[in-house]
Symmetry: C2
């Protein structure tokens, strides 16, 4: 019988009472484990986090909390091979995909553990030098961040069960907020396994980390003004959370990372090594995690003069891609994570085809995948479309409106100017990441000003450091993750900035010397 | 006939078509002017802001935009006497109240004008030093703020027609975002007059400032992902804005300043000059603007041992307060701003009386006000209540749940510990400002950690600088304004921090030297 993955709530493992949901291997469709949702109220779990976990974390210094992160990072690193196997089986991940997820989680933990060492001994973080409240006043005001007294509710996406959970947890734990993590069910085996290991080793203080398997139940009915909800997933669910009556009435802080029609803008001067980088990045973003990344490239803006070269090279590079069961080490791209995702992606491609021509890939292909029987598994080969010229700048064109969450991208012709690129990029209504490839510095400076407002992160790639450049979908803990508008308006990571989500910025107003003494401590 | 106050949209004055709403003098009930709402769509006004105002502002440097603020500040200062008269007549303000509002607006303009001079020549603000994306990488990531490409929609409260409008405008204009300002109708004469003066002098570039009189019409149906809505007012309207389907679907950024049950915590060691300051501040917060300030003190936590002394001194100090028509210079407190506000406050006091005893003041008093005929004007004398001992710590007690927007405050007994104070303060579910009066440094340090998470600003007053301390309801541009939870979760002002509301924080990821060159400019 398949293992049942229990929730870890109020300090103990708790079996759900809901109907069992199978977790499957998306390459073979074999059942790996089952999850049963908690049917009772989750009010007590939130209270446990607030009353037990919060005080325990806040009793520690930033440095001590950083040590917790270090210990989690070490544990995950030590169990890496085992965890990769879990990710390959339940996530449809290639080994490379699994490492990207797991090592990404370790990287965030390690970054914040390192940052913790620089954060001083006070129970707050000073943000600025206090200034007189008006000219010549003896009274000054300065700002500090203090940990919020609630629970950090992390509702994670199916695509990064390790990175999503560990990355969000690293930041909240360091900030001093206990976590209640609800992974997406379909790929939750990896998250569950990591939490099992953390609990076995007793790394975290009681109440500071809870795991909720299956549906969120009545969780949102019990949130309060000091809780934080950090959600990664679809815009639809994001909107449900944001407009939930209790969330709204209590003023619970919400951070969303939702849909994102990330664009790449190829500059008119791209050539040589930079051209190779463009193609390499496009292939990575199309195939890594089978394109199931919120930062994957969905729209590629190609200058007219380069269009045929980009198109043909990309298609050629994709020709010998090995797709199949990711437990076979020769395979470079695995399946989508579930039957529902595959159905959704296929429907999305049909939508895109109203405004774009299919250039490469058969959305219905269901055989010839390495190590997989025909009609088995949730495979989708890479799909490249070309926007119909008359639809390129249409605000309602599907490629500007609808994210297909799989190995799917659309090429759009443009005139090579930043003005035109900015207009097209803006039709996506806000994205997590945008990328520009160019050497012309004036062109790049306009890109910062004109594309920047629509983005959470702008990757600027030039010839000189093309070899060192990282593909845009890779998220680093030092850089902001989150974008405006459709992307949800969230802000996560970004080094120190990321802590603000879990803390309250409070202005302290007092006499100059009193303030200095209070902030310095004894 | 009363003057009709038109809207200023798309570069010209536009008469509304709605039924005329009278603006009255709340002391005499005489009609001063009328407002008629725009009936047509406001989509074009927003487009005008985005397409004309935004580019014009962004073509200027921060320093140049700062000069605009300076010119507005000078104009308001030059017209100060005239504007005070307008505020006294339409706002029910005493001269002191009117100055507080108008000079407050000037102060924000002046502060940001000064700040502008330090902001460099680039079209963005650098926020940090770029860091390697991982150890030894040649690629770095740093963060900048770039102006958003939308309109800043300012929906202001009736209590500060000058400060509310000018303060919000100062920050957005400096950030590079055009403004569409909708003042609260009942006291809009002052805002309208200031805009008239600004338009006459042609201070601002076309499209960068629009004024919408009357209702917001269909404004929210046309917001986009780059727009920002900054709202100050009641929680109910705040929730309507936050959950408006278009606001939510487009991911429009929303900043709310809503209800706030601001608390004052009197330390057990308060005596001498600090005791006098407590009483002085309580009187100011109760009577200034007739208590119609979102930062006014609604709950006063008094240690048992000090209770009678605080209660009796406060009541005594209020005994000879002159209430009446504020055009009489002897008057220290004017009426509430409208009949609706008075009715609302009276209803609220009834609610409070379920959980508190009326100590001082008659909510129904309607005569004996200086220079006012009986039964005329919207007067409410200062009301002080004392929480029933058994209701002090009840989460559902009205004084923890319901803000009465007038000269109304409730005294609560507590044991003098920060632990107890924190529990009571938290029952307010998040406030704009909290205040502690004490000298004990350990007690004050706990206050920062334990009260801080519930506040946007914490005022710390001690004996040594009691003479210089400013009453907590006074908001300074250097300090954050906005609080968690019930207070709306917003963040405004706070010097440089305030600009972030109107800008997008974007991580720039590129080669180390390329990034440095791009950010420095030529």
């Amino acid at each position: 019988m398949a293992e049942q993955l229990d929730s870890f709530l109020q300090g103990s493992w708790r079996a759900g009472e809901g109907a069992p949901t199978p977790l499957v291997n998306p390459a073979t469709e074999a059942t790996i484990a089952t999850v049963r949702a908690i049917q009772g109220s989750l009010a007590d779990a939130l209270r446990h986090g607030r009353e037990v976990g919060g005080p325990a974390l806040r009793a520690m210094s930033f440095a001590e909390r950083g040590e917790l992160l270090e210990r989690i990072a070490k544990l995950v690193h030590e169990q890496r091979e085992h965890l990769i196997d879990v990710a390959v089986a339940n996530g449809g991940n290639t080994r490379g995909d699994a490492k990207f997820d797991i090592d990404g989680g370790i990287a965030v933990l390690a970054h914040y553990a390192e940052l913790a060492k620089t954060m001083g001994r006070e129970p707050w973080l000073a943000l600025d030098e206090a200034e007189p409240i008006f000219r010549n006043s003896k009274i000054r005001a300065g700002h500090v961040l203090v940990p919020r007294h609630g629970v950090a509710i992390h509702i994670n996406a199916f695509n990064f069960p390790a990175w999503g959970m560990l990355g969000k947890a690293a930041v909240s734990l360091l900030a001093g907020m206990p976590v209640l993590c609800k992974p997406a069910t379909s790929t939750a085996h990896l998250a569950h396994r990591i939490v099992q290991l953390m609990v076995e080793r007793e790394i975290l203080p009681a109440g500071s980390f809870q795991l909720l398997m299956g549906s969120a139940g009545d969780l949102l009915d019990h949130v309060g003004p000091q809780d934080v909800i950090a959600f990664t997933g679809s815009q639809g669910v994001g909107i449900q959370i944001k407009t939930h009556p209790v969330v709204v009435a209590r003023g619970t802080r919400v951070n969303l990372e939702a849909d994102s029609l990330n664009a790449v803008v190829i500059g008119p001067d791209v050539d040589g090594e930079l051209f190779d980088l463009v193609i390499r990045d496009l292939v990575v973003e199309l195939t890594q995690k089978a394109g199931q990344k919120c930062t994957a490239t969905r729209r590629v803006l190609v200058p007219e003069a380069l269009f045929e070269r980009v198109r043909d090279t990309l298609v050629e590079r994709l020709a010998d891609l090995k797709i199949g069961d990711p437990s076979d080490k020769a395979v470079r791209m695995g399946p989508l994570s579930s039957a529902a995702q595959l159905a959704d992606a296929r429907k999305g491609i049909e939508l895109l085809q109203q405004d774009a021509e299919l250039l490469r890939g058969d959305p219905r292909r269901s055989e010839g995948f390495v190590g997989v029987a025909p009609e088995r598994g949730y495979f989708l080969e890479p799909i490249v479309l070309v926007a119909k010229p008359e639809r390129v700048a249409a605000p309602d064109a599907a490629f500007h409106q609808h994210e297909v969450f799989g190995p799917v991208t659309t090429l759009l012709r443009y005139d090579g100017s930043i003005a035109a690129a900015a207009k097209l990029l803006a039709l996506g209504q806000g994205s997590l990441v945008g990328t520009v490839y160019a050497d012309d510095r004036e062109w790049l400076r306009s890109a910062i000003a004109e594309l920047g407002p629509w983005l959470g992160r702008l990757v600027i790639a030039s010839e000189k450091f093309a070899g060192a450049s990282m593909s845009p979908g890779c998220v680093f803990p030092v850089a902001n993750h989150g974008g405006p508008g459709r992307a949800g308006g969230g802000e996560e990571l970004g080094g120190r900035f990321g802590l603000a989500l879990y803390m309250q910025r409070v202005a302290l107003q007092s006499g100059a010397s009193q303030l200095a003494k209070l902030l310095e401590g004894k």
